[in-house]
Structures are given as structure tokens and as C-alpha cells.
Subunit: 398 residues, 2 copies
């Protein structure tokens, strides 16, 4: 028998997607499954941007520049100058989603065997990309009792070795909905500078901040070589399927290296880039309503979750996630049980078990991640199911 | 100073793209540059497929299935059943271009430190993807004096060690335009089976065969677990910018592993997949004219090249490339010189130096790759420039 690679056997399944077979089985039996498991927004993609794809006239769908269309890089740069920080369009390297941006940055900023410090829980796909790049994730615990705020800086400092090449943050945070503040970023910048390591910040949820104020790593002074930002149109513009993201950094040497990986895959998707150009150009008229929708859901979620017995939660200041603790021993078992055995008025609920968002999986054993990607009415139904499910589950395992 | 990774410094630049700065400089001075360096077809993308993207109506550009849209997988399977070999739609995993397909296959079929045998010259980007997967390419020389036909099977056999996990072919071949025959494939299949290694065949130029007959690796008997085919719409349908390719294999365990890497990057581009569905559905009405255009160019190229003094060539039976030997010591120097110093009636020519298509770069030192991606009239002009350039260059370096 020809063999499958060991590394692919060791690669974990996505915690967001691994329970799909259970959801499919439920749907096959006529059960309505409400999805809070995946960050697939139900907010509409900008109409003008969809129209731009329809209006895009070409005879040949050609390879483009590896770094993306100049028009898109300029649209992104203009957006950054207005809303984020002063950059040049040449600081923008367009990628096939933030996923590819992460991969390119790990391969160019770090060598095999190097270490990267990431607060856990973290975006689960970092594990896979670190494994592909043969990089060790050194997790630093953030705690639900502190609403997953940034751990103390001295705890980061203690983890730095001569193999540490970067600190990676997701800000606003997926999966916690937490926001790292200006002073958090300043402190991490000092630490990164002192140890000459990269500060990589995944800012794909940037506009969705409801409490406090967002501070981009690109606003940090005197960190041009050290700061690398990951971005994407997926969440901001509800355009996950377009597969358009970018790396933004003022470190030109790093960009030169990224260009080589970019040439390997030739160019980012043509139609998605056309969509993205219009997205960035109409940001101002679009983003307010999208943000209001997510804020209303967050408020509803907090109010509902605070009233479910035994659930530990906090008010997430940003993004559209909440990592909560359930009064169950094994949240993955509970999630499977919801899909396979529990029905509430003909419906059930799909959640993402949190263990996959931790390198040390036991830490997340009783937690689940919720994504607020349903409208207020559906979201209320989802919490009805969760509330009833927790009661029934307790009865069942007692 | 924060450092760039060693691996990214070691990653070679694309031989197809690395001379662009010289081409840009020439264009900036008003010189027309004819491009034979890159496989960007000038044949038109199917009109109906472009229209399908315009007609595609969605409110939200959502993530899709990691393995691609079912409708596309079925369109590909139907196409294969009719034109290639009997497969099931579940044997098709849709990727973001053939590039991603190569990456996924290398990561799932092989571990770090494993070896892959590839006839050289080969598609240059295999080097980068092998480096990313930490796989050693073991090249086997194919020779211009044999028109780059497949080396003898016993030569492959001699290279197999306990680290060898795969043989990789590109058939029809980029960069040589050569075609491996049914008996070549049969012999390699026996060898792969005997040693229990994968036979990976990149068939992205499949329909463009002018002499002899194409034989897909998927037609091999009793090789379901060992054969993996890489495919793409880029060349067949002149849709390089759509970024849609696929892995086709009957090895379900391998597909399960590919699914995990696919989930990491979430899904292939949405709009490109819509384009691709129509491409496969209208293949029969489209492909004939496209093929005739490439065949006419190949014939013209062969007739012109055969009459340029000192040029060594052969009639490429397939694809739209030709790897030729020039009467110069250093083809890369000649290519740069064409762009920076040589003008013929206000024009010059961009070629891809062949050294980057070899692991052992010296073997390609006098060779260049030509891509027949200009119409017959422009192609004639390109050969006028090459002919005059070779005479002028000889005068210059003598």
C-alpha cells in the first residue's frame, strides 16, 4: 500500500468544520440546523462590488501581477491612509485570502524549527500553517476569567528564546471577540524591538469594534521593519468566497521574499480582486450598517448567555465571536450530542468545540466558540436551543 | 535588524518572471517587447464562461466547500468520463490553480526529507513547492538530442531509494513540449507499483497534442491508489487568472488528507469556479479552434527555428512550448542583453532562460524556453528579432 504522509495524518481537523458529518446527518432527517460554528457572515456583500464583477469586461482571464492588481493595492493603501495608518501602495501584497497571507509570512519571516508566540485560544488554522512551515507554536494562556485579555508582558518575555522569531496576535480576536488595546500593542512593540522579532497582527476584523477603540499595529512608531499586518476582505465585506486578502508591511526586504512565494502561485484570483477594488472604494457607505448588525447581535448574545445557568461569558468588545464556558465536562461531546440527539421544536444547533483553538487542548475542554452570523431572530432561537439543550444534557449525563 | 528567513533567501526566483525589470525598463523607453517568456495564452477565454460569471447572482460571496462546488466537481467528472478516463466526481478535489494542487499533493503524499524523481528540465515552480514541503528533487536528465523524450526506465530505477515516495511528470510537458507515450506511462506504472510510490502526473496541457496520441495516467490499470493527476483550467480554457485547478485521484485516503489542507485555506475562489463550470460544459465546442491556433504556431516556430543558424530544436508534439539551444554560452546573459541593448525595428523579445528549469542549472545554460502565446504574425516578428539578435550578439561578444 502506498502511504499517506505522517504530517498530513498529524494535521488536526478544523474544529469549525469537523462536526459537519453530524450536521449533515441531522439535516438529512429534516432537522433545521442553526449554525453558530463558522464565521461565515450572513450580512450582504456590497451590491456595488457584486455589480463591479458583472461589469468587468475581459476577453482573456489572464495571470496578473503576483503582488496583485495595482488598482487594488492603491485602493487598499487609500483605505489604510484614511482609516488605519499611513502606508504606501507598495507596502501591500495581495494574497489569496488571509490564509495565504499567513502562510507567506510564516515562510518568509521564519525558518523550520523557529518558534512563534501566540496567545491561546487562537484561530485554529494557525496550527496547520505553523505545521506546514515547520514552526513551533509557543502558546501563552489568556484566561476566560479575564475575558481573554492580553496576558502580562513579562509572561511573553519569559517565553522568548533564541528560536523565537515572532509574536502573532489576532486583533480584534477570533475566537474570543477580545480587543487588544493601544497600550498592549505598545508594550508588545517594545518587547519585539528589544528582541528583534516580528510582531505579526491579523487584523481581519478591524472595523468591528463596539467598545473601546481599535489601534492598528501599523500605527506603532519606529516599528516599520518589525510589524506585519494580515488583512482580508472576507469578514469586513462579507466576501469570504472571493479569496482576497493581503499582507501589509513597510519591511521591503520581507516583501521581496513574499514576492518569490507569490510568483510560485502566480497571481491572486482575478474576479475576486475586481470585487475587492470596489469594496475598498465604497467602504465608508457600507461599513456602518454592517457594524450595527453585529453590535446588536453581540448585545443580544451577551444578554441571553448571561441568563443561562452555568454558562460563563463576558461582553466581547469586538469582532463577532464569543468563547464561552459551558457547564459540561466535554464540550465536543455536547456539540456532537446536540447535532445527533437533541431537537428543540424540530431544530438543533451547531457550535465549534473550543479544544481545537488551543494548542493545549484540555484548556478548552468545556468551552465552545460562537459566531454571531445569524440575524437577531434566528440568534434568539439558537440560544433557546442552547438553553434547553444544556438542561436536557445535564439530565442525560447525571 | 529583524531577519528574513534563510529558506526564502534560498528560494529561486521564477525564470519566467525574473527578467521583468529589464522588460519594464525597455517598455519605459518606448520599445515594444514581444513576450515568449510566459505561458499566458492570448487565445480567448470561452465567451459563454465569461458570461456565466456575469450571470452569477448572489447576495453574499460565501465560503464554499473546501473540495470545491459539487456542480464543478461533477462537470469535471463528466468531462473526464467523456475525454480522459472513468472517474467519480468524488475523485476530484478543486484547488486554487494547479499550483495549490501541487502543494497539497506534495504535503499529503510525502514527508519532509523524502525524495521525488522528476525528469529535468521541468516546470520551474516544482522547485519552490518541493522546497516548501522540504522534499528533495532527484532529477533525471532528459536530453535535447532526444527531443527531451522520457529517459530509459532503468535510469529511473537506479535513482529509487527508500526515501523515494513519488515520480512526477508533466505530460504534455512544460517546458519542452514533449509528450510521454502510453508505453512510457505503462513502464512508469510498473515501476511505481513495484516500489509502492506515487505516480503524479501534471496534465494541464492535456488537449494540446498534435502528433501521436495523449494517454492519461488515469487510464492505467490497477493503479488507483498510486496515480495522482494535477489539472487546471488555466491553459486549456485560457483562464489563468481564475485560479482554478484540481487534484484527481481514486486514492480516497489521499483525498481525505488533502481535505484537511483544503480546510486550512477554506475554499477555492467562488467566481473562478463559476467560470470553470461553464468551461467544462462547453469544452467540445471550444477546444478545436484553440488547438488549431497552437498547432499553427508550433509549425511556424519549428520552420523558423530550423532555419536560424546554430539553433538546436525539434518538433514539439504537444503543449505550446519549445526548449531550444542557442549558439550562445550564457542564455540568461543573452536574454538580458536582448531586453536591455538590442532593438530590431523598435522592438525586442523576452525569453525565459532555461537554467531555472533545471535543478542542475548548468545543463540549461545555453537553452531558452519559448511559449507560443503570440499570433502567427507576431510570432514571425519574434523570430525575426531572435534571428537578428543572435547575429548581433555574436558580433558583440566575438
Amino acid at each position: 500500500m502506498v502511504k499517506i504522509s505522517k504530517r498530513s495524518e498529524e494535521l488536526p481537523q478544523s474544529p469549525i468544520r469537523k462536526l459537519y458529518p453530524y450536521a449533515e446527518a441531522a439535516k438529512a432527517k429534516g432537522v433545521e440546523v442553526l449554525h453558530l460554528n463558522i464565521g461565515q457572515p450572513d450580512v450582504l456583500t456590497p451590491k456595488n462590488a457584486l455589480q463591479a464583477v458583472k461589469d468587468y469586461d475581459v476577453d482573456i482571464v489572464k495571470y496578473g501581477a503576483s503582488s496583485g492588481k495595482i488598482q487594488l493595492r492603491k485602493a487598499i493603501a487609500n483605505h489604510y491612509i484614511k482609516h488605519v495608518a499611513k502606508i504606501n501602495y507598495e507596502d501591500v501584497f495581495v494574497t489569496t485570502g488571509a490564509s495565504e497571507a499567513i502562510q507567506f509570512v510564516l515562510f518568509t519571516a521564519m525558518d523550520a524549527g523557529d518558534e512563534i508566540i501566540i496567545p491561546q485560544p487562537f484561530y485554529a488554522n494557525y496550527i496547520g500553517y505553523a505545521q506546514m512551515a515547520d514552526i513551533a507554536i509557543v502558546p501563552i494562556n489568556s484566561d476566560i476569567d479575564r475575558a481573554f485579555k492580553l496576558p502580562e508582558i513579562n509572561q511573553f518575555e519569559e517565553l522568548i528564546t533564541d528560536k523565537t522569531k515572532a509574536i502573532l496576535l489576532c486583533n480584534p480576536n477570533n475566537p474570543t471577540g477580545q480587543l487588544y488595546t493601544e497600550s498592549d500593542l505598545q508594550a508588545l512593540a517594545m518587547l519585539s524591538k528589544k528582541n528583534d522579532i516580528y510582531l505579526i497582527v491579523d487584523e481581519v476584523y478591524r472595523p468591528f469594534v463596539y467598545t473601546d477603540k481599535f489601534y492598528s499595529a501599523l500605527s506603532l512608531n519606529d516599528m516599520d521593519d518589525h510589524v506585519v499586518v494580515i488583512d482580508s476582505i472576507s469578514k469586513v465585506f462579507s466576501a469570504c468566497g472571493a479569496r482576497v486578502g493581503c499582507v501589509v508591511t513597510r519591511n521591503r526586504k520581507l516583501l521581496d521574499s513574499i514576492e518569490k512565494y507569490g510568483q510560485l502561485r502566480l497571481s491572486p484570483p482575478d474576479f475576486g480582486q475586481e470585487l475587492a477594488i470596489t469594496c475598498y472604494n465604497i467602504y465608508d457607505e457600507y461599513i456602518g450598517a454592517a457594524k450595527l448588525q453585529y453590535e446588536a447581535r453581540r448585545d443580544l448574545a451577551y444578554s441571553r448567555l448571561s441568563n443561562i445557568e452555568g454558562v460563563k461569558t463576558y461582553l466581547p468588545p469586538a469582532a463577532f465571536y464569543n468563547m464561552i464556558e459551558l457547564p459540561v465536562e466535554d464540550a465536543e461531546h455536547f456539540c456532537k450530542w446536540l447535532l445527533s440527539s437533541f431537537r428543540h421544536q424540530g431544530r438543533t444547533l451547531m457550535l465549534a468545540p473550543a479544544n481545537g483553538f488551543y494548542r493545549d487542548q484540555l484548556l478548552g475542554k468545556s468551552q465552545v466558540r460562537l459566531a454571531f452570523v445569524l440575524n437577531v431572530e434566528k440568534l434568539n432561537l439558537a440560544f433557546d436551543i442552547l438553553e434547553a439543550g444544556l438542561i436536557a444534557y445535564r439530565g442525560r449525563i447525571a
